[in-house]
C-alpha cells in the first residue's frame, strides 16, 4: 500500500505548501502596496506597459468576439429578433467574454514578460542588489506592477466592451440587415449596471492575479536561463487556470440566486 500512497500524499502536501507560499507572498505584497515609499515613475511605466500597449490586442480580440458572437447567434440559434440580439451581445460581452478574453490575452503578454524580467533580475542578483541599496524589492518591483494590473485591466475591459459591442453592431447592421436605429436603441436598453460592474470587478481581480503570478514566479525563479524559462511558463499557465476558476467563483457570487 505504502508505495502507492506515498507519492499521492507527497504531491498533496507539496500542493498545500505551494498554496501556502503563494498566499504568504500575496499578503506581503499587498501590505507593501499600501505602505510608503511609493514609486510613481515606476507605476506610470507599468500602467503604460499593461494598459496602453495591451490595447491593440484587447481591441482586436473584442471586435472579432463581438462580430462572431452576432454571427453565431444569428446562424446557430436562429435569433433574428431585433430585441433579443443586442441583449445577447451586450450581456455576453460585458459579463463574461470581455473580461475573460482580455485577461487571457494580457496573461500571455504581461504575465510572461513580468516573470521573465523579474526572474532574470533574480538570477543575476539584481534583486539582492536592490536590498543592498536600501530599496525594498517588494515596494520597488512588485507593488507598482500589482497596482497597474488592478487599475489597468478594468480600463482595458471597459474599452473592450465598447469595441466588442460595436463589432457586433457592425455585423448585425451591415451584414445581417438589422435596423440600425432600433439596434442602437436596444443596445442602450440592454446595458445593465450590474453586468458591466461585475465585468469590471472581474477584470480587477484578474489583473491582480496576472501580475501576482508573474511577480511570484519571477521572484522565486532559480538557476539560469532554464529557471527563468520555467518561471515564465508557470506564470502564464497558472494565471490562465486561475482566471477561469476565479471567473466561475465571481459569477457565482454576483449572479447565483
Amino acid at each position: 500500500m505504502t508505495p502507492i500512497l506515498q507519492p499521492i500524499g507527497r504531491t498533496f502536501l507539496n500542493g498545500l505548501s505551494a498554496i501556502g507560499r503563494l498566499s504568504l507572498f500575496a499578503l506581503v505584497a499587498v501590505r507593501h502596496c499600501l505602505t510608503p515609499p511609493f514609486y510613481p515613475r515606476l507605476l506610470v511605466r507599468q500602467m503604460i506597459e499593461i494598459g496602453y500597449y495591451s490595447l491593440p490586442y484587447v481591441g482586436m480580440t473584442a471586435v472579432f468576439t463581438g462580430m462572431v458572437l452576432v454571427l453565431q447567434t444569428y446562424t446557430g440559434f436562429n435569433v433574428n429578433a431585433e430585441g433579443l440580439m443586442p441583449q445577447i451581445v451586450v450581456l455576453s460581452l460585458t459579463r463574461e467574454l470581455g473580461p475573460v478574453l482580455a485577461a487571457l490575452i494580457v496573461a500571455g503578454r504581461i504575465g510572461a514578460s513580468m516573470a521573465a524580467e523579474i526572474g532574470t533580475m533574480r538570477v543575476t542578483e539584481q534583486i539582492d542588489a536592490l536590498s543592498t541599496l536600501s530599496t525594498n524589492p517588494f515596494k520597488y518591483l512588485i507593488a507598482p506592477r500589482l497596482w497597474a494590473g488592478v487599475t489597468m485591466l478594468p480600463l482595458l475591459v471597459g474599452i473592450g466592451d465598447v469595441i466588442g459591442v460595436f463589432g457586433g453592431y457592425f455585423v448585425a447592421v451591415h451584414k445581417l440587415g438589422f435596423n440600425e436605429g432600433n439596434f442602437l436603441k436596444n443596445i442602450s436598453e440592454a446595458t445593465k449596471f450590474l453586468d458591466v460592474f461585475s465585468g469590471l470587478v472581474k477584470a480587477a481581480v484578474f489583473g491582480f492575479t496576472i501580475t501576482l503570478m508573474g511577480c511570484y514566479h519571477g521572484f522565486n525563479s532559480k538557476g539560469g536561463a532554464q529557471g527563468v524559462g520555467k518561471a515564465t511558463t508557470n506564470a502564464v499557465a497558472t494565471s490562465m487556470i486561475l482566471i477561469l476558476i476565479l471567473d466561475y467563483i465571481l459569477t457565482e457570487l454576483f449572479f447565483a440566486k
Binding site: 514609486y39 542578483e125 536590498s131 543592498t132 541599496l133 536600501s134 530599496t135
Partner: protein, 258 residues
C-alpha cells in the same frame, strides 16, 4: 576587544534542506580593515556574505554589526543597518533597465530620497573615481565590457559612502590586467571612504593586493585565519594546498555547488 570589531560572527549555521552549507562559522572583521575570505567553489562563501547582509536567514548563530545583534532583527531596524552596507556583486548585478549614472545614483535616489540632479552629480564624481568618463554615465550597462561593468558596480557600491563594503569575487572573469586595475581601485576606494571591507575570492593575487587579514573557509567552517602576508607560510595544510593549487591534499572538491 569586541568594541574594535565592525563585524563579529559566531556559530553561523545555514543549511538548504539536508545540505549543510555553513556549519558554525566564526569571523571577526576589525573596524577599518580589509578581510579576505578564500575558499573553493561551493564552500559557502557567498552564503556567508548573504547571511551577514540579511539576504538569507541563518538557521543558527549570531552576527553583530557595530556590536549590535542583527539576526532576528525587525524589518525596520534591518533597513537602518542595511544603509551601512555597500556591495560589489560577482556579476556586477547592474540594473539593465537604467543608464549607468542612475545605477550609481540608485541608492541615493531610491534608498535615501535624494534629489535626482544632486544624485547625478555625485554619481558622475564616483564614476570618475573609478576612472570612467562622464559620457559613460549615459550608456546602458549592456553596452559596457565586463571590466567597465565591474567599475560601475564599484562606483555604485561606494556611492552612498558605506561603512562596510562587501566584494563578491571582484576579479573573477576579468583578464589579469583588468583584474589588477580593479584590485587597485578597490584599495583606493576603500581607503577613500574609510570603510571596513569583507571580500570573498579564490584569486590569490587579489588576496595579496586587497587584504589586511585573511581567512579560509572549508566545509562550512573557518579552518584558518591570520594576517594576509602570512598566507604563504600559514603552516595549515588546507591553506597550503589552496595557495599552491595542488590537486593532492586534505581538500576534496565537492561535486555539487551552491
Amino acid at each position: 576587544m569586541s568594541t574594535d570589531l565592525k563585524i563579529k560572527v559566531r556559530g553561523l549555521k545555514k543549511a538548504f534542506g539536508s545540505n549543510v552549507v555553513l556549519d558554525g562559522v566564526d569571523l571577526d572583521v576589525p573596524r577599518g580593515q580589509s578581510l579576505v575570505v578564500i575558499g573553493g567553489s561551493g564552500t559557502g562563501k557567498s552564503v556567508m556574505i548573504k547571511c551577514i547582509l540579511g539576504l538569507l536567514k541563518p538557521d543558527a548563530g549570531s552576527i553583530e554589526i557595530d556590536g549590535e545583534e542583527v539576526v532576528g532583527m525587525s524589518a525596520r531596524d534591518r533597513e537602518r543597518v542595511m544603509k551601512k552596507f555597500g556591495m560589489l556583486f560577482q556579476g556586477s548585478a547592474l540594473f539593465d533597465s537604467l543608464p549607468v549614472w542612475e545605477n550609481v545614483a540608485f541608492g541615493l535616489i531610491s534608498g535615501r530620497g535624494m534629489n535626482r540632479n544632486e544624485a547625478k552629480e555625485i554619481a558622475l564624481r564616483k564614476l570618475s573615481a573609478v576612472g570612467l568618463q562622464p559620457e559613460v554615465g549615459e550608456l546602458f550597462p549592456a553596452e559596457l565590457s565586463g571590466g567597465m561593468q565591474k567599475r560601475v558596480g564599484l562606483a555604485r557600491a561606494i556611492a552612498a559612502e558605506p561603512e562596510i563594503i562587501f566584494f563578491d569575487e571582484p576579479t573573477t572573469g576579468l583578464d589579469p590586467i583588468m583584474a589588477q586595475v580593479i584590485n587597485e581601485l578597490i584599495v583606493t576606494c576603500v581607503e577613500m571612504v574609510g570603510a571596513t571591507a569583507l571580500s570573498i575570492t579564490h584569486d590569490m593575487h587579489s588576496l595579496r593586493e586587497i587584504g589586511d587579514n585573511a581567512a579560509m573557509i572549508y566545509q562550512g567552517k573557518i579552518v584558518w585565519s591570520g594576517a594576509a602576508k602570512d598566507i604563504d607560510n600559514s603552516g595549515n595544510p588546507y591553506v597550503e594546498q589552496f595557495v599552491k593549487g595542488k590537486a593532492e591534499g586534505p581538500i576534496r572538491m565537492p561535486v555539487r555547488s551552491f
